[in-house]
């Protein structure tokens, strides 16, 4: 091709071609240098957002997380940014594919030079991302990725301002003990979440309530008919006095419906550890109808507990933008961003190790309470870069359409 160009009378000469290549190279080098200079101490401080933005991942949660990060950056830049530099977001889709999420993380760390990132959601992706931060160091903040290993694996740069399977299951067993149930059938989906909850419930049963009998019934996520699996509850001898459901959407709703259809509920009390009925009540009640009456739901948010003043400021901002109050996990992402910015301001640095050391010992008022991290180095302990200042609340649905009207535990103040 090149020889044809050169040999043609109408085409560019060899000299012109060389000149063209030289010009392109020079322009590219100048551009790259200018870009690198802009990234220096006077350029923006970049924060990554890797969160689900497309189906089948939970893109509804992801879109709220991204918007929250945008609100935070807008508010912070109005105040003059951080260390006199503007904040800038770099956003990428987490997807449900860990490979895609990790390649986005690598690009953000190596090309965009982010100081930290927020937004990971599904544990199945968040965990490999956390692993990737060992090779591509960046501060990573999770809130509602429940897998214990996100903190138990002792990743040096990963922090969790939110719940974990082991902590949720502790809340569950504490409530089961107070409520006095003796024999529980646990329906757990075959996932990091479902089986993590099962392991957690067993651990806390042994420690807190050894008289409690737990029976595991595993289910495959994504199926539509669980009657064969649920048959086992019908054949339990003695029959259980409680069914604990640890399932994700959409089959979490299907399960409630089929338990009712099989006559197992409300004869046996049903309790769900996932707060989907509280997050998307219209869908829950439309799908389950009267099958949902009597069900008990566990959540880490209660209408009887006020946000802190920080949380109320955020709630006002969020409500003006979204038209509804923020869910608690969104408020926790706001906290993550505040922690990151405070660390940069107080250390006057964007050095990852300086920031990590600072955050490990940070004490800061959050949206729902005071935040400080547990840093237990014991192998296997989830209390590593883990915040524990949240509580669990239990709500019972007395009628179709209810959400948090009847808080049964802890008692309403």
């Amino acid at each position: 091709m090149a020889s044809r160009i050169i040999s043609s009378k109408k085409a560019v000469t060899k000299m012109q071609a060389i000149l063209l290549v030289v010009i392109i190279v020079v322009v590219a080098v100048i551009g790259a240098v200018a870009y690198m200079l802009m990234q220096g101490p006077t350029g923006p401080i970049k924060i990554g957002v890797i969160t689900p933005l497309s189906a089948p991942a939970d893109y509804l949660a992801g879109s709220l997380i991204r918007r929250t990060a945008e609100l935070f950056v807008e508010a912070q830049n109005k105040k003059g940014g951080v260390l006199g530099r503007p904040l800038e977001l770099v956003v990428a889709d987490q997807t449900l594919d860990a490979g895609t999420a990790i390649s986005n993380l690598v690009r953000m760390v190596t090309n965009d030079k982010i100081v930290g990132l927020v937004g990971p959601w599904e544990s199945g992706v968040a965990l490999p991302m956390a692993e990737a931060t060992r090779q591509y160091p960046t501060l990573m903040f999770c809130t509602y990725s429940w897998a214990d290993n996100i903190t138990a694996n002792k990743y040096p740069y990963v922090f969790r301002v939110g719940v974990a399977n082991l902590l949720v299951s502790k809340g569950t067993i504490e409530w089961v003990k107070i409520a006095g149930y003796k024999n529980a059938a646990c329906i757990c989906e075959e996932s990091a979440y479902g089986l993590g909850m099962w392991e957690g419930m067993n651990k806390w049963r042994d420690e807190l309530y050894p008289e409690l009998k737990l029976t595991l019934i595993t289910t495959k996520p994504g199926k539509t008919d669980y009657t064969p699996e649920l048959m086992q509850i019908s054949t339990m001898d003695p029959p259980p006095d409680l069914i604990i459901e640890n399932e994700n959407l959409p089959h979490a709703n299907t399960m409630v419906k089929q338990l009712y259809e099989m006559g197992l509920t409300p004869k046996i009390q049903l309790m769900s550890s996932t707060p989907f009925p509280l997050w998307v009540p219209d869908s829950f009640w439309e799908t389950c109808g009267e099958a949902g009456i009597g069900m008990i739901n566990q959540d880490s948010q209660s209408p009887y507990v006020e946000f802190t003043s920080i949380g109320q400021d955020f709630s006002t901002l969020y409500e003006a933008d979204q038209g509804s109050k923020p869910p608690v996990w969104i408020a926790w992402y706001w906290d993550c961003l505040r922690i990151l910015v405070k660390a940069i301001e107080d250390t006057k640095s964007t050095d990852i190790n300086a920031l990590k050391d600072y955050i490990e010992n940070i004490q800061i008022q959050g949206t729902t309470g005071f935040i400080k991290f547990e840093n237990d180095p014991t192998p296997g302990s989830i209390m590593w870069h883990q915040w524990t200042g949240f509580k669990f609340y239990f709500f019972k649905f007395e009628a179709v359409g209810e959400t948090t009207e009847h808080q049964i535990y802890p008692p309403v103040p």
């Binding site: 199926k223 539509t224 008919d225 259809e261 389950c288 109808g289």
Partner: protein, 292 residues
Amino acid sequence: MSIPVIISALLNGLILGLIYSLITAGVSLIYGIMKVSNFAHGEFYMIGAYASYFATTLLKIPTFASLPFSLMAGFVAGYTVERFLISDTYKKKIERPGEYAMLTTLGLSILFQNIVREFYSPFMKSTLPILPGTVPFYLISISWDRVLAAIISVITLVSLYLFIGKTKTGRAWRATAQNKVGALLTGVNMERQCHISYGVGTALAALAGYLLAPLYGIYPSMGYWPLTISFVAMTLGGLGSIEGSLIAGIIIGLAHSFTASFISPSYADVGMYIVLIIVILVRPTGLFGRKD
């Protein structure tokens, strides 16, 4: 292992199996006549469910009255897809028609799911029961909707079997399935028969979606599991065999129910695949399949 447990597992497995048979009927019909693997089968099932949902919510009609909307939506969607996309497989315009049909229907499956998710809602919906209430039976109770789905499954599959075997259109479908050129030479309007049979196959998927929407809920990815089940049942029963679909569905339902009840719920699906592997090893064409 008491008698009530065995009877309960048997009944639950039988009804579940008949539901699986119903889900399989459409995909089996399409493969039997056109030799096309319809990977969008689950989405035609979804279309039937959403058609029923929209008819009941927008027109304020009871669920049973929404059946014509589901059937029509399933048929029109299938007819259109076949007319404009799948018909190329037998018009010889493409080099690898089987692969083309597989990839086209797979693409349609993703497209349909995302259209619903983006332009309507990703959240679960449901229609009201067709027949409210449940009937207690030993250790369990079974909803009337589930019983209805099982009965309609038997009626549909027997009717379809008789239709293909006894009617003029059925003969034209069989002729098309055996040899398309031969069918053309004997005066069969082959293209039209393909359009219609594909539409009927997708309408059967929509019928399953309509009947099962009150039980399983309605959401964009609702077709994933029915697609899996229908391909397992079709392979077990024999590719394209209607009677095979009926028997295979029942076998899978019973395998599910007995494995979950007497071994472990964790192995409910394993039971289904073990049955499939054994049958394929002994009879590679499936229970009622024939060598081409």
